[in-house]
């Protein structure tokens, strides 16, 4: 069902955890459909210096969360804002069709975190 890349990120997720003094936090998801993703950012000079996640969800939810943190780390926030859920899925060599909608929200969580950073750091 899942690609090797998904299983790799699921079983060895990168950047799990919280950032103590995060300056951007975003959470998306819907517990009734089974997925909640929360992303913590440490942004300095508009660059994502650190990023961590916590996720409640299925294999795809955890793997996409892990992947999005890898993709975002070191990017500017503008670069990170153009990351899409689709791009995350592609970086994982694809997701099963029924996971494309409800479990593929990691980029949204990242964007929420960036938005939160922008709102709280004006």
């Amino acid at each position: 069902m899942y690609t090797d890349k998904v299983m790799d990120h699921f079983s060895n997720p990168r950047n799990v955890g919280e950032i103590e003094n995060a300056n951007g936090v975003g959470e998306v998801g819907n517990a009734s459909c089974g997925d909640i993703m929360k992303i913590f950012l440490k942004v300095e000079d508009d660059i994502i210096k650190d990023v961590k996640f916590k996720t409640f969800g299925c294999g795809a939810a955890i793997a996409t969360s892990s992947m999005v943190t890898e993709m975002a780390l070191g990017k500017t926030i503008d670069e990170a804002l153009v990351l899409t859920n689709q791009a995350v899925a592609e970086a994982l060599d694809g997701l099963p069709p029924n996971k494309m909608h409800c479990s593929n929200l990691a980029a949204d969580a990242l964007h929420e975190a960036i938005k939160n950073y922008k709102e709280t750091n004006v």
């Binding site: 998801g29 819907n30 459909c33 089974g34 997925d35 299925c58």
Partner: protein, 405 residues
């Protein structure tokens, strides 16, 4: 890697004796039992022997057994066949909120076609209130359809009492016995059941074969129209090999019923006690009295984590179980059974079913008890719901779409 299969309510391997019995019917004995020549004659007796074996397991007459293709077909047949045959008599059906989709979707379909359906509620333990059942019966009621045992929780409904109520009000009674047969005694006479469905692949026969008990004199409209097979009750060329295997599986089930009950129940009880001891913040789904559940089934929710990710962790260790999570059901909602029992939606997503079989060993249980606690802990550490200051309430989480710290 060791493979530990604890998903016997989903399906079971074909028993060696069953496969052995089936094989000749793919090869030399390939005939159509409706044929008059040697090829047909060779196999028609085998179909009748299987009918006797099925009848013996559920205590009915062989003439009351009709072979079908699966449990779902039996449920469709029981409900649609009754609804059509008794449509002059009434249009009301009573069932429960925790039935298998084969019952629920069939009832919903009938609702679109002029039938009224009462879905009886269950309590937090998943049990029915029989006074509600009695109160629901009207002069329009043509069918009560209540499962013998629930596939997710293992809960056993009081089928004999329901049978007495059905008899008292002269309402036809169907029971989906797919999960019950082979695990607990199923006696259709004693339970006063008019229709009962069993499915081969849940008891060590092949997938794609099942049987429905139709009490003598029960007027049914055919579900599968066509040829004259099964004394005009079910069309389609007999699945001879499958039927022969179902017969043997029923014979084995009858022979080993008591022994397997004790054996499997002991393993399940050990697993249940072990999980309760080793993992904090869990919830048992189903009736707390283990006598009121199938001997093989344990359903627990592990707070803060989602079921599919737990199953994947299991899988990496060779452990096969199942989950009520939406992610594993093909639908967007978690298990309707958990919903009916008012299990919190997050807990429903983490509901995990272990369904054991006679193939499991104490070592299997020990292995699960060794692997499970660290897996749960690891997933909890990863979960934004764990150790949250303000716990997510259900109302809230249904629509979470951005929460800042």
């Amino acid at each position: 890697m060791k493979q530990i299969y604890m998903d016997n309510n989903a399906t079971t391997p074909v028993k060696p004796e069953v496969l052995e019995a089936m094989l000749p019917f793919f090869r030399e004995q390939f005939g159509n039992p409706s044929s008059v020549h040697w090829a047909g004659r060779m196999v028609s007796g085998a179909v009748e022997t299987a009918r006797e074996q099925v009848a013996a397991l559920i205590n009915c007459s062989p003439a009351e057994v009709v072979f079908i293709s699966c449990g779902s077909e039996g449920d469709n047949f029981a409900i649609k066949g009754t609804a059509d045959a008794l449509k002059e008599k009434g249009n009301h059906i009573i069932t429960t909120t925790v039935e298998h989709p084969a019952i629920l979707e069939t009832c919903e379909h009938l609702e679109k076609n002029g039938y009224d359906v009462t879905y009886l509620k269950v309590d937090r333990d998943g049990m029915l209130d029989l006074t509600e059942l009695e109160a629901a019966i009207t002069d329009q009621t043509i069918l009560i359809s209540i499962m013998w045992a629930n596939n997710e929780t293992g809960n056993l409904f009081p089928i004999e009492e329901i049978g007495r109520i059905a008899k008292k009000y002269k309402v036809r009674f169907h029971t989906d016995a797919v999960q019950a047969v082979g695990k607990v005694p199923v006696d259709v006479q004693q339970a006063n059941v008019d229709l009962a469905v069993i499915s081969g692949h849940k008891i060590g026969a092949a997938k794609g074969v099942g049987a429905i008990y139709i009490r003598r004199g029960t007027r049914m409209t055919r579900f599968m129209h066509g040829g004259h097979q099964e004394r005009n009750r079910r069309a389609g060329t007999h699945n001879v090999a499958g039927i022969v295997g179902l017969g043997v599986a029923c014979e084995l089930a009858l022979k080993n019923l008591q022994k397997n009950y004790a054996y499997v129940r002991n393993l399940r009880d050990k697993l249940e006690a072990g999980i309760k001891e080793l993992v904090p913040e869990i919830k048992l789904n189903g009736h707390p009295d283990a006598d009121l559940r199938l001997p093989n089934t344990l359903n627990v929710s592990f707070a803060y984590i989602e079921g599919e990710s737990l199953l994947l962790n299991f899988d990496m260790k060779g452990i096969a179980a199942s989950s009520g999570s939406a992610c594993t059901s093909g639908s967007l909602e978690p298990s309707h059974v958990m919903g009916a029992m008012c299990v919190d939606v997050v807990l429903a997503h983490s509901s995990t079913r272990f369904s054991l079989g006679a193939n499991n060993t104490e070592a299997d249980v020990d292995f699960v008890l060794q692997e499970l606690p660290p897996m749960v802990q690891r997933l909890r550490e990863m979960s934004p719901l764990y150790n949250r200051e303000q716990p997510l309430t259900c109302d809230e989480c249904r629509v979470v779409r951005r929460v800042s710290q």
